[in-house]
Symmetry: C2
Subunit: 316 residues, 2 copies
């Protein structure tokens, strides 16, 4: 089985107020040696949960059934994943081919590592790959910035020159280098791989279950995001082997099958929506996440990191 | 029970290379509208796990048994927490008094919220408070910066003007305002509270189990950090009530008792160490976390956030 990051240790459900997110961020304070910026908290910012609740139909996009991967657990419960088609197209095509070939039926979750990832699937040594699967995909770890209409978050990031969102996905980007990549936030799904030049076939996948391991950004093919059900995997005893691998297969989480929603009978298909990220509603959501107010909070931060402003999703 | 944030929705085990962390960070790039900085990746940075493994005894400090809270679970297993005495002294004194009064014997973990917190303890309405507990502590949500010898992390933060470490604790701070506070990273422990002016007695505590909810910084009394055993609480079905509260007490995680290590017979006391954060070793660790290299990584980030460079701890 692949070790992914083997050398590392380690839903919310929207009319809304005017947004301030697209304004330029405050100028850096060059007078203080270590001060890169000074947060400018917004008092009485919109409550982000209310923003979601009061959103309009136009604030959401439907998840395409061809991009919706449904994992059914043998013990009951379902994990739904949206595939990100714009960032690692060969890996995503592989995942679709593996699903259509019923390759993961059955399989298991064999790694649960505290504050890091869960990992599931099969290795190509376990079972021949179905037709149409590219055995050695290119290193789709980032992509050209050109062609992406990214909305910047508006706050500094500890890893990337700029972070923001495009089409419902969290991204880091570098305008000088002209590259963009998906950020490893909670719930993001990537492709397990061995050492270079292996990039993984897509047969073994992982999802982030803890604090964002952003050091994986640009080091691994990131292909999607869990929309629902990740808590069914996190509520499982951690693997006791190195990196959280679960030694005894009896203790794996059995997966009955994995398929695309488009493979399911129309009447059985679950359907999901993701909040659009190019709208005033999403801007207000971000402003609200960055400036928590209401009766509980005493001090709004005036900033938020891209992985603490997860794009809202919902069952349709 | 208190709702804490009611309106919000690894341990590792060190001579090391020269450190670059205390050098000034790169100048902000004022030419690009949204670019606050440009990461300057360090190639072939020290492996952070090797840095910990090769550390010397002098790189570590012992955890005082009077600051070490031991939770024994009825079903087996133990959660160890270090109390942070410099940030919320009245709340910490309360926690010590509650432990010495065996107030939490027995009690339970009654909230497990995915990607957020676990919460445990008792409410003062459940049981009279022991002598010495301050019923309405002051709002110890931040403190004076003066008197803290903070080492800046050296990378930008999405919430605070500056982040860094002092005495093994992660902090945010504002030199202009002269205030400092503990940051809500994975494993940090805070005091559940109701709405202002309540600040919580310390009878109900929570620990962060997911992505750092940094919006809680400066909004709640933060009193410590889990050193070991948090995975025993995260591997539990999520509460199905709002905010992850577990409705049926039968499904709570039963706590047999909570006491300070100093209350235990000397022969039974567990002992822990925390890596010092004012050393070249820790600087090298941070540099390594910000610039992952070795055979797996292809691109070092050149930055890391304060909650993805958790201070190493170990059993002694």
């Amino acid at each position: 089985m692949r070790r992914i990051a083997a050398y590392t240790a380690a839903l919310a459900l929207g009319s809304c107020a005017a947004a301030t997110r697209t304004a330029p961020p405050p100028e850096p304070d060059a007078s203080a040696r270590y001060t890169f910026w000074r947060p400018s908290p917004v008092l009485e910012a919109p409550d982000p949960n209310e923003t979601v609740k009061n959103s309009a139909a136009v604030d959401w996009r439907d998840v395409d059934p061809d991009n919706l991967l449904i994992m059914e657990l043998a013990g009951g419960g379902r994990v739904a994943i949206e595939l990100a088609t714009d960032f690692a197209p060969v890996h995503v095509a592989n995942v679709r081919a593996l699903a259509r070939g019923n390759w993961w039926t059955p399989s298991s979750v064999y790694r649960v590592q505290e504050n890091y990832v869960v990992q599931w699937g099969l290795n190509e040594s376990d079972k021949p790959l179905p037709a149409g699967v590219v055995k050695a995909p290119p290193a789709e770890y980032d992509r050209a910035l050109a062609g992406l209409d990214i909305r910047p978050l508006g706050f500094p990031d500890s890893y990337a020159p700029i972070v923001g969102h495009v089409n419902g996905w969290p991204v880091g980007y570098d305008p000088e280098a002209g590259r963009a990549w998906l950020t490893h936030c909670y719930g993001m799904v990537g492709v397990g791989r061995d050492l270079h030049p292996d990039t993984g076939t897509g047969g073994e996948l992982y999802a982030v279950i803890g604090h964002a391991p952003r050091h994986l950004d640009r080091n691994i093919a990131t292909i999607g995001r869990v929309l629902e059900g990740l808590d069914r995997l996190t509520a499982h005893p951690r693997g006791t082997e190195a990196l959280g691998f679960i030694k005894d297969p009896k203790n794996h989480i059995a997966i009955a099958r994995i398929r695309l929603a488009s493979q399911m009978p129309a009447a059985e298909r679950p359907s999901y929506q993701v909040m659009r990220t190019d709208t005033p509603t999403f801007s207000a959501f971000v402003t609200g996440r960055a400036n928590r107010s209401g009766t509980f909070f005493r001090v709004p931060a005036g900033g938020v990191d891209v992985c603490n402003a997860l794009v809202p999703t919902r069952r349709k």
